[in-house]
Amino acid sequence: MEPLSLILLTTVAPLAAFTLAILLLMQQPRLAQIVVIGGGTLSLAGAALLLFQGPMAPLRYLWFTSGDMQLRFGFLFDGISLMFGVAVALITLCVMVYSLGYMGHDPSKTRYFAMLALFEWAMLSFVYAVDLLQSFIFWELVGLASFFLIGFWYEKPSATAAAKKAFLMTRVGDVGLFIGVLLVLQVAGHFDIPGLLAADTGLVAQAKPAVLTMITLLIFVGIVGKSAQFPLHTWLPDAMEGPTPVSALLHSATMVAAGVYLMARLHPLFMGSETTLGVILVIASITALLAATMAMVATDIKKVLAYSSISQLGFMLLGLAAGSLFAGVFHLITHALFKALLFLCSGLFIHHFESNDLAQIGRRGGRRMRFATAGLLVGGAALAGIPPLGGFFSKEEIFAALGQDGVTIYSIVALLAAFLTAYYTFRMIFLVTRPAHMEQPAPEDHAHGHGRAEPWSMALPVLLLTVGAAIAGFWGSAIASGLGIGAAHHSLASMAPAVLVVIAGVLLAWMDFGRQSAARVGFIARIPALEKLFNNGWYVDAFYDAVVVRTTMLIATILHAVENKLFDGSFDRLGFSVLGIGAGTTRLQNGWVQFYAGWTVILIGVAAAYIGMGG
């Protein structure tokens, strides 16, 4: 099939589903669900067919002209976009199907499904965008969909606040991205991504090193916002206020990965600036470690996963910044699968127990949900990087990339973060599956126990993703060839440190939480200061509240006073003093017409005399 019709199928189907659902089907949730899932299926089919056809020449169309600037939109079909496109479409479809069960009883589910469709359209359009400005537009729209989905339960103040925070913090990043994109236009005169990346005529060849550094740094600011990197990461844990399938889809697997994707997309530009790469390495390693420490102490299952997402995104950026496109993209895709799986499994627990608390889920019999527990194990093992599951191979690539110049501070930090990852992942698993003691299952659980706690609509996606997460590790060479890179094969010896830290992490978790006699308190509790620091998210949010928010509101208050007193006030005073003068002159207005006429006549006379003398 034509690439045009396929890409239209991929992107327009969700848009059509969204439009139909929001305009016509508000009152018919069942029909809306069918339409949206139909759209998602078509979209997946289109993306898959595109992937089978392999990389193709991009399509470009004129969007508008302003003077000599021509803005185009179009679609880019190269390895990165094709693979990530399929991953997005697949996970979205999984989440949509899963939501049939998870959101089955929500009164506003049409709105929910419509927003999922909106998200899918924006995300896919972003993934396939050929034009940097087009990317930016859909990047913003993805953020918009995220805003609506986080704030889906808008009657909960915490959800509204989280949505607001997410929108504003990503917006801060977007300002950087926006300026960066505009700078690209100034330097290159166009937004065309393949053109910008071209080795001989592209931006790297055109721009002065300082300008290139500036551009890439600004774009990286956008990535920091969207991919929740330090210091703009605090919105992501809060975003867990949204429905769990949304967290799975947007806030771990796809949307937050948009930042990483953008960096992969523009990888040659970033490779052109050493400074930027250095900054990214620092930020990404800080993030990977910081988020892992916070995941160690979180008690909310979704928060653990959220922090781990932040940490893993840091890993991806580390891989990309270390120069390995393959490592970043590989981890992006495996992470998308296993993190979506983990969230959907946690959703099964949350749905069943109506609680997010790890300890409570464990006490009330988390491990009796065999299906969910199996998914959690596979996903967790993949996250922790246990061979031969997905995460192991992709993380291994990142270590390899970091280690290619010998042992650096970054590879040590990465290993430390990987150790913590294994630790907190298995802490989570052990807390759920090996509680110190279990409550007796409540009788009503038996009453409507169908043998399996979850409906097929929730089970099927979990099953699919479990399989995906399990085998994703073996797609390495396929992905590498999709990117046009030969997959490197690493010797067993080079894998040793990664395997060792994972084993160490799992063992420590077993000591703290797994064994029967464990205290079920993390080792970190022995250092109360650190525990407090981790629990409070390193006080980043507190800093924002105390400094950024306060300052902004203070400026607003001051300007408000200035407006009332100075600008508006002075005009008012002017107005009222004119009224005063008016009151004085009123006395001249005695109402005698003859008096008025007399003045007129005098004036005419004076004027006549004046003219007479002058002439």
């Binding site: 009123t586 001249l588 207005q589 005695n590 109402g591 005698w592 017409v593 003859q594 008025y596 006429a597 007399g598 006549v601």
Partner: protein, 101 residues
Amino acid sequence: MNLESFLLLSLVLFSLGLFAVLAHRNLIAVLIGVELMMNAASLNLMAFNRFSVTDPVTGQVFVLIIIGLAAAEVAIFLSIILNLYRTRRTIDAEQLTELKG
């Protein structure tokens, strides 16, 4: 008599009318002042018509029109005076101060 003396006469007449309009309290007297001013204007036109143009028709027509309009104006003015007198029992200009600020 030449043009200037006629103009001077007309100016005197006009100023007298003006004084009447401004000074009198009785609206009828005010009306009379207005009439004086209009006649001063007519005189002006006739004088120019005689001394300054070659075709004397226009000025005469002009004056005839003034006379006609004066008739119309007087009719309206008098009816207003009557109306005022009926409603307010006065035609004293100093008591009609609707425009007072």
